[in-house]
Amino acid sequence: MIQRHPHDDLLLSYAAGSLDEGSSLIVATHLTFCAKCRMDVLVAETVGGALLDAIAPVEMGDAADVMDRLDEPAAVPSRATKETGFPRTLDPYLPDTTVAWRWFGPGLHYAELLKKGGTKVGLLRCAPGAEVPLHSHRGEELTLVLAGNYHDGESNFSYGDVQCADDTLQHRPVAHADIGCTVLIMNKGNLRPKSVVARLFVRILGM
């Protein structure tokens, strides 16, 4: 049972179409698992629909051009799916074969999926009991659990849960002692490491 959801402002911007790609990837993947948030997105889309039908219409050419095209065959989006073991939202960002994990810290492996502007999204695989060094954030960080679970000193995060962190949060997540965890992680801006080890870690991560 999912306990932790993306904040409502993210769901709203996702519905409006203004949320950046990296955050949208976290939200869309969570929606694969979460009927509650799918409902919230539908509520926000209903607002979009209501704004659309209430807007003052503007001068528009007649339907003739479109009428002439009604017999055109519709473009069928090609959707080749991959057998990656990850949700399909990640397909466009994953290699066709195996995920190229790279080591970056004791018990930690990372695979970058997206890097655009100041935003990075990747998969982080944590061995049982692995610890992500204490850090705080300059920008937002969103973490979605895809397997196992972790504890950040305050709460536990398991399958499908999303943790939203901003520049006020300092945390040191620890993967479950027996099963570890794999998370999809998005961050904006640079992490602020709190120790020498953490600075080294951040440098390795290239974050």
Partner: protein
């Protein structure tokens, strides 16, 4: 009346939902013409409101309406109104036109977790849901209605909306959260 409150008032759009529901089976060009006459000028206006230049907005509005025709058989009035469904088509088309990407979940994904069967204390008929959501929209406090309008029309990150309103980012986010919570909560039927 601000436009968020105005949008809450029912419009001929309900009739459009009925028309669109039949279109997938009927392939009736006159019905499509009526949908076009109602939506195309609004879609164009919406796109222009978001900063799309008029001629581009007109072309995108035409593309959106062509998609409405092509995808009509997929429309399900128990899950959306015509306006909501067309809103999502326009949103996605515009994002494509801007060469941006908006990941979306795939309901045929083997990892997809379907909705639980509708609970008796939760509204599940879309038409009824929509009435409640619109009613809640009309009652949003002005400051929440303002951030909602900006979130839909301005296509800006929350940080820029905050700068524009000279408000702290946290205030903008919390107004958006309160607004969505308020509208979503009306779907739970009071017992």
């Amino acid at each position: 009346m601000n436009d968020v409150a105005a949008a809450a008032v029912p419009t001929p759009a309900q009739e459009m939902t009925t028309l669109l529901s039949g279109l997938g089976a009927s392939r009736d060009r006159d019905d499509f013409g009526r949908l076009f006459a109602f939506y195309a000028p609004r879609v164009k206006a919406y796109l222009m409101r978001q900063g799309t230049e008029a001629t581009v907005a007109e072309e995108l509005a035409q593309e959106a309406m062509l998609m409405v025709w092509q995808k009509a058989a997929l429309f399900d009035a128990s899950k959306a109104s015509a306006s909501t469904w067309i809103f999502t088509i326009v949103r996605n088309l515009r994002i494509d036109a801007l060469r941006r990407h908006r990941p979306a979940f795939d309901p045929t994904d083997p990892m997809f977790i379907p909705d639980a069967p509708p609970s008796p204390d939760y509204e599940s008929e879309y038409a009824e849901m929509q009435d409640r959501i619109r009613a809640a929209m009309s009652e949003l406090p002005g400051e929440q209605a303002t951030v909602i309008r900006l979130a839909f029309f301005e296509d800006k990150p929350h940080s820029e909306i905050a700068a524009q309103l000279a408000l702290p980012l946290g205030t903008v986010k919390s107004r958006l959260r309160l607004a969505l919570r308020r509208m979503a909560s009306v779907l739970e039927i009071a017992t």
